[in-house]
Symmetry: C2
């Protein structure tokens, strides 16, 4: 072994050798003895050094993968995930690299001068601060100290009422008891996980998907099963095949302008998902963070609209369309889950800030919300058109994407033999930020995609930015592709 | 069995009979077939009906107790916990009973006319709304949209800086990297649980203790072990004895003005706790929600002050002294845990509201905080004196309490043969709210204590309220005490 690390296995122990080896390696990874993306010793080498069977090492490596500590490239070996140890790195929330901070959802805090195609957060200058300030003052003058007392766990009743009325415009029928106010959509995912997932329960996710959701499920000890995301929604065949095998507790999906692909479910697939889950004791968690942002004539209705059997937990985020730092959102909860969700919310933070709830209630009531959404839609659709046009004009044809007809990002596929992690690094050197696709996977096996968002780039910099990215792309694609080959004629990960 | 419920056990199954019986009963309790506080059939009756061994039933009942679904009274039998099923009742957060809503911590939303000795939340009229409003406007004018952008997961840096300076006045040394901003202390407990507790890990708690903490640990699948709380702090002998047996991951304590007892640790016990845990891979979680509120000359320093080995996670709440609905607090985190806490916070809600963080930063900097604390201390110490005086004057001597010298509540012990649950009900009928002690236990075995807080009762109503409670007390104590006796000569729970 490259590093002088001693691993001692106890042969007479009750614990199988591969488990012992797993624990040793886990510790070494967590202590940072192995670097992120460092290749672990080959199966043969490790087995030889430790005088154990190849299969012992194979099993230990597989466990590391399952735990999200390592990933494999077929034929090339097993690598340490960069998120596996306790140091700052790209894939950890709050990670800082080259002056760039990236969180699990691809959100970024960037030094000036960087062209940021990674963030899908709007420019703070677009926030409706003036209106919000006026309403905060109205609330404080009206409610005085009551704005800061404990609030109902479920949420401030008038806000829940206003939310119900707002939902009606989306054809979602809900009563105040259905509504749970949350401190942002991430908390919604966390609260649902607490309420429904016990250690060892299974959760289905689209692959790729939002990393913050994966982390929340993982934190509950869930077994996470990927279902591939296709251009018109989740892979139904896979879903149908895996449902009886895994009997998941939850299915987490983003039906409109999915993160990271930007793709949306067809009406057919939405209907079909609800049909397929019938008879299973499972709930669909619908994460709706963008469905207002369709830029063509196509309708992008929430899945919840079709939910006749009360199997959809609908989570609504305001972060991308309104203001991310507000930390406010809501969920629509099927009746059978009210109490469990209430307990989970109480355990999480007792209740959401009363001042913000009261202010947002007025914002909804005064119709400011509807006006703001159409304002944001106008801004974003303008950026979307400029972005797509620039990409069409400047990107090499070998890089594939599908026009999402809305949302905030595009999902690009590199030709075979080229890697998004490598491409990300090359962009970074030119002060350009994109998001490598591996951030959106349960394990880091897919390294062929990257995401670009046009939400945070000022219109006058969009084409210039796309040209710069295209330059890096062309340079990279001009090089020979790299096809991994088998080093030892033996691939354990089939 | 009283109710016509059929339980079928499968003798040829791999699952032991007592586990099967446990699952059946769990389902029946959760479906509400048994009422809260209903007595389960006796061991003999149940064993006879099902044609199983007594010990099978004993084990099933014990499991129910462990899961918090049932409790036993020695010699009298096993009872269903009222929190066990999915309906509104006293012990569930958000429960509404007789127009009174009680959450897990004993917080209450009360209809007018009720004398509320259950809440430890200050009157909203005492909140510094005017100052806070001024500062919010200052922040909005200064920071505009930036106040609503995504904020650092760890918290707004200038706020963390201000917190460090504030901590220095408590002799706690911390740097900005040590500080994690949280959306209230409950979230702090939840985040720490996520970061440190895996399914099956052990957590020590003081018994009795804050219910919201118990729920958070339980939600992680922790095994919760009680250590008795004494008048000068945790029972050191029990702690020393149980440490090597259970090797807990966390020890959750409230060293000053503990909830619900109001008791504080002696300097000796604080030092001793830190000594005893040496060599164990455990952390002490110090929940500090009141330590500013000492009304005598005695000093009530946080345990964190003594923490030389970086084993104390310090959680600071502002809810009781400042404004509960603000949902803001902070933690001081030992260096080795920074990244794990950061990930857990990110999973929980990404970050705390930026607007509130920025406003509170100014509140700390402008010294308004220090002034407000001394203002609240004056108010509370006045109520404390009136309350203690009234209790001394009007309560029967048979009801025991210890003067806490600070904080917001007193913890009373009824004489043997009298029950706090019953007493709670009698008070409720007179429109008086107290908190029965069983709310603060991991299982509902102790029914001899109740808590009264003087935080939310206006000074002019304190004596009148105490007289009313004393009236109910005297009436109850005038009745014959009830001593439970053995119905079948057999007590399985020894």
């Amino acid at each position: 072994m490259k590093k002088s690390v001693t691993i001692q296995l106890i042969r007479e122990s009750d614990t199988p050798l591969y488990i012992q080896l797993f624990w040793h390696l886990k510790r070494l990874i967590e202590e940072g003895v192995f670097d992120g993306n460092e290749r672990l010793p080959s199966i043969r080498k490790m087995a030889g050094d430790l005088e154990v069977n190849n299969i012992t090492v194979v099993n230990a490596y597989k466990l590391l993968e399952k735990e999200g500590l390592a990933y494999s490239r077929i034929g090339s070996g097993t690598y340490v995930c960069s998120g596996g140890h306790d140091r700052h790195d790209l894939e950890r929330p709050g990670a800082v690299r080259n002056g760039v901070q990236i969180d699990g959802g691809g959100e970024t805090h960037v030094k000036p001068g960087v062209i940021n195609f990674a963030s899908s957060t709007p420019d703070p200058e677009l926030f409706p601060v003036e209106h919000f300030k006026m309403l905060i003052n109205r609330v404080l003058d009206r409610d005085r100290g009551n704005a800061f007392g404990y609030h109902e766990i479920q949420g401030y009743q008038p806000l829940r009422q206003a939310v119900c009325e707002y939902l009606r415009s989306y054809s979602i029928e809900a009563c105040v008891d259905n509504i749970q106010v949350i401190s942002g959509a991430q908390q919604g995912i966390d609260v649902v996980s607490k309420a429904l997932i016990d250690f060892g329960d299974c959760v289905f996710v689209e692959s790729p998907t939002y990393r913050g959701a994966i982390e929340a499920f993982r934190s509950r000890g869930a077994r996470i099963v990927d279902i591939p995301m296709e251009e018109d929604g989740i892979d139904l065949e896979e879903l149908e095949r895996k449902l009886p095998v895994y009997r998941p507790r939850l299915i987490y999906i983003i039906p409109n302008f999915q993160n990271p692909t930007g793709w949306s479910y067809s009406e057919y697939k939405k209907k079909k998902v609800l049909e397929l889950i019938k008879g299973y004791n499972t709930y669909v968690v619908e994460d709706d963070f963008l469905s207002e942002l369709g830029y063509t004539r196509r309708k992008f209705a929430p899945l919840k609209v079709m939910d006749r059997e009360e199997r959809v937990i609908y989570i609504k985020s305001f972060s991308k369309i309104f203001m991310p730092g507000l930390r406010l959102g809501f969920m629509v909860i099927p009746e059978g889950l009210w109490n469990r969700i209430l307990s989970a919310k109480h355990v999480s933070d007792i209740s959401t800030s009363g001042l913000l709830q009261r202010t947002f209630e007025l914002y909804l009531r005064d119709n400011l919300w509807v006006r703001h959404v159409s304002y944001m839609k106008e801004i974003y659709s303008g950026r979307y058109e400029m972005f797509i046009k620039a990409v069409e004009k400047h990107f090499p044809r070998a890089v594939y994407y599908k026009d999402p007809e809305g949302g905030l990002h595009l999902w690009f596929k590199l030709p075979e033999g080229y890697f998004a992690g490598e491409f990300y690094n090359r962009c970074l050197k030119r002060n350009i930020l994109i998001t490598p696709g591996s951030l959106f996977h349960t394990s880091n096996t897919d390294d062929s995609h990257f995401r670009m968002s046009f939400a945070a780039v000022a219109p006058e910099r969009i084409e210039q930015g796309v040209i710069a990215v295209a330059g890096v792309l062309k340079e990279y694609l001009a090089e020979e592709p790299f096809f991994p080959y088998r080093t030892d004629g033996y691939s354990p990960f089939v």
